[in-house]
């Protein structure tokens, strides 16, 4: 989870000086595609690997769901916290700074375990009404719907962690952790905009938040788009940590498959193949995004 600085107005590294020859610039991708085809051919000519593939591939949906929902939540958290981190209000500043330092400091794995073994049981207590708090039927029903519990489960048996939607069970652990990192990205982006922009906006009678919304943030977010996209890739890879609490994403399914059949090499080959393809697809997206931004800068 590296911090990436927003692009400076006049970068030291000017991509215009780099070769435009597609072969020179994109050979790594051609090599990757060749490797990809080779592995794909290997998978679909081996019955064992096909079996492993079929077992693992159903988890891609969960992996992507966790990634996308966590990303969206972490962006919202990140934006709000970034505004707090540049606030002159000392309470807001200190609260948000504590949050960032704390969640940046705790390993993601630890946070996932805390959510799985502390937060989720507490949630179950609240929903099932075994909590010391009195039950509020309306609120309980709402939470039950939100976390995807079948009402029949509550009426017939006692509620367990696996009755809660696995994606929801884990998304907030990712969202609060990545929110801390995102907030630093946004803060760097906002601070990269000269103070003259805020002064000009305010001198026209805009409030602080109007200036933020219409002038500062559009420029800041544009500057940090590559960093955000980079965090998206990191997040995608980190979803593999959810496997430790039995969320059925691809890493968890691979571990299940590999330990059942004792076929670790086969399982890990399939898993690496899937991750590499997902992340490189996104890297291409980032490259496209950066070239578009570069073009925009020249157009303006």
């Amino acid at each position: 989870m590296a911090q990436i600085e927003p692009t400076a107005p006049r970068p030291f590294f000017d991509p215009r000086g780099v070769s435009r020859n597609i072969l020179e610039r994109r050979s790594w991708f051609l090599v990757f595609i060749a490797l990809d085809i080779f592995v794909l051919y290997g998978i679909f000519t081996s019955p064992i690997l096909i079996e492993a593939w079929n077992f693992v591939v159903v988890g891609i949906g969960v992996t992507l769901q966790i990634t996308i929902f966590s990303f969206l939540f972490s962006i919202i958290i990140g934006l709000i916290v970034a505004l707090g981190r540049i606030s002159k209000n000392i309470i807001i500043y200190n609260v948000t700074t504590l949050y960032v330092e704390l969640f940046r400091g705790l390993p993601l794995l630890v946070i996932i375990l805390i959510f799985a073994f502390v937060v989720t049981p507490a949630l179950i207590d609240v929903i099932a009404g075994t909590d010391v708090l009195p039950g509020i039927p309306f609120l309980d029903n709402l939470i039950q719907q939100m976390v995807g519990i079948n009402p029949a489960v509550i009426e017939t048996t006692s509620l367990r962690a696996r009755d809660i939607d696995p994606v929801i069970r884990i998304v907030f652990a990712f969202a609060v952790t990545y929110g801390a990192f995102m907030s630093e990205v946004f803060r760097a982006g906002i601070e990269s905009i000269g103070r003259g922009q805020m002064e000009a906006s305010r001198s026209l009678g805009m409030t602080y938040f109007e200036a933020m919304r219409h002038v500062i943030l559009p420029q800041a977010i544009r500057n940090v788009l590559p960093a955000l996209a980079n965090n998206f890739i990191l997040l995608l890879k980190d979803t593999s940590l959810a496997s430790v609490v039995a969320v059925p994403e691809i890493s968890h399914l691979t571990r299940q498959y590999a330990s059942n059949r004792f076929r670790y090499p086969e399982g890990l080959l399939i898993l690496s193949f899937i991750y590499a393809n997902l992340t490189i697809l996104m890297s291409l997206g980032v490259i496209y995004l950066e070239s578009r931004l570069q073009q925009d800068k020249h157009d303006e």
Partner: protein
């Protein structure tokens, strides 16, 4: 509405009233007991060596800086009091900066329309109409859909002036509007400012352009080390300087 106000004869009550303004940045005293009155329709030019506090004084008028003590009134509002609604004051006080500060994420039209729609709550058609009229006025109607970074410095500053005028301000503040410009672009900006002055806009201008000061100012203020040293007419100041520090300053720049 604003046209009406401008045609009113200058009243005795100043539109900007600064009394004993004091401001320090750490140990540096930027303003020392500065008092200044500006009446509606007046053009006041502030000159002085760099670091003399003239920009600070200007920025205190719309509270981009806050004074440590003293009073600043714009019309009937005490700007430096905590419970004044500063955004309502700023709507009526346009400001032009040395570094232009156009919004690079918006086209020229976008720059001119943003505050009109967000702050003045005008609809798109109306604010577009006003924006086009002002672009005509500053002489670059053909640049409406261009982005600011594609414009020359002089053009950017004229857009910045138009952006401030789009709010129909009663007062315009200019903070060294030509200091960041190449020499050949200074005139195009000064011409726009001269036109504004002729129309009777109330202006407070911090500048090193003595030609402009002579041609447009009703009143000229010389500041040094945060103090207002001289406040007089341009003719008196340039042709008959009395104060020693003013003489030194004029000797260096003229």
């Amino acid at each position: 509405m604003s046209e009406l106000i401008r045609t009113l004869p200058p009243s005795d009550k100043p539109i900007i009233h600064i009394k004993d303004a004091t401001k320090s940045f750490g140990a540096v005293k930027a303003l020392r007991n500065v008092s200044l009155d500006v009446h509606a329709g007046e053009v006041v030019v502030i000159i002085g060596p760099s670091g003399s506090g003239k920009s600070t004084l200007l920025r205190c008028i719309n509270r981009l800086e806050t004074v440590n003590s003293g009073e600043i009134w714009v019309e009937d509002v005490q700007v430096n009091s905590k419970n004044c609604d500063i955004n309502r004051v700023r709507e009526e006080v346009g400001m032009v900066f040395q570094q232009f500060n156009l919004f690079p994420n918006l086209s020229v039209m976008g720059n001119l329309m943003l505050a009109q729609t967000v702050v003045r709550k005008r609809n798109r058609a109306e604010s577009e109409h006003i924006a086009r009229r002002l672009l005509d006025k500053v002489g670059i109607p053909e640049k409406a859909d261009v982005f600011p970074t594609k414009l020359s410095g002089g053009q950017q500053q004229r857009v910045a002036i138009a952006r401030a005028l789009a709010m129909n301000p009663k007062i315009m503040l200019f903070d060294e509007p030509t200091s960041a410009l190449d020499p050949e672009m200074i005139k195009e900006v000064l011409d726009v400012m001269l036109d504004l002055a002729k129309e009777g806009m109330t202006m407070v201008v911090v500048t090193h352009e003595m030609g402009f000061a002579r041609a447009a100012a009703n009143k000229i203020v010389f500041m040094d080390h945060g103090e207002k040293i001289v406040e007089t007419t341009p003719a008196d100041l340039f042709d008959n300087p009395q104060h020693e520090r003013l003489k030194q300053f004029l000797g260096k720049i003229l």
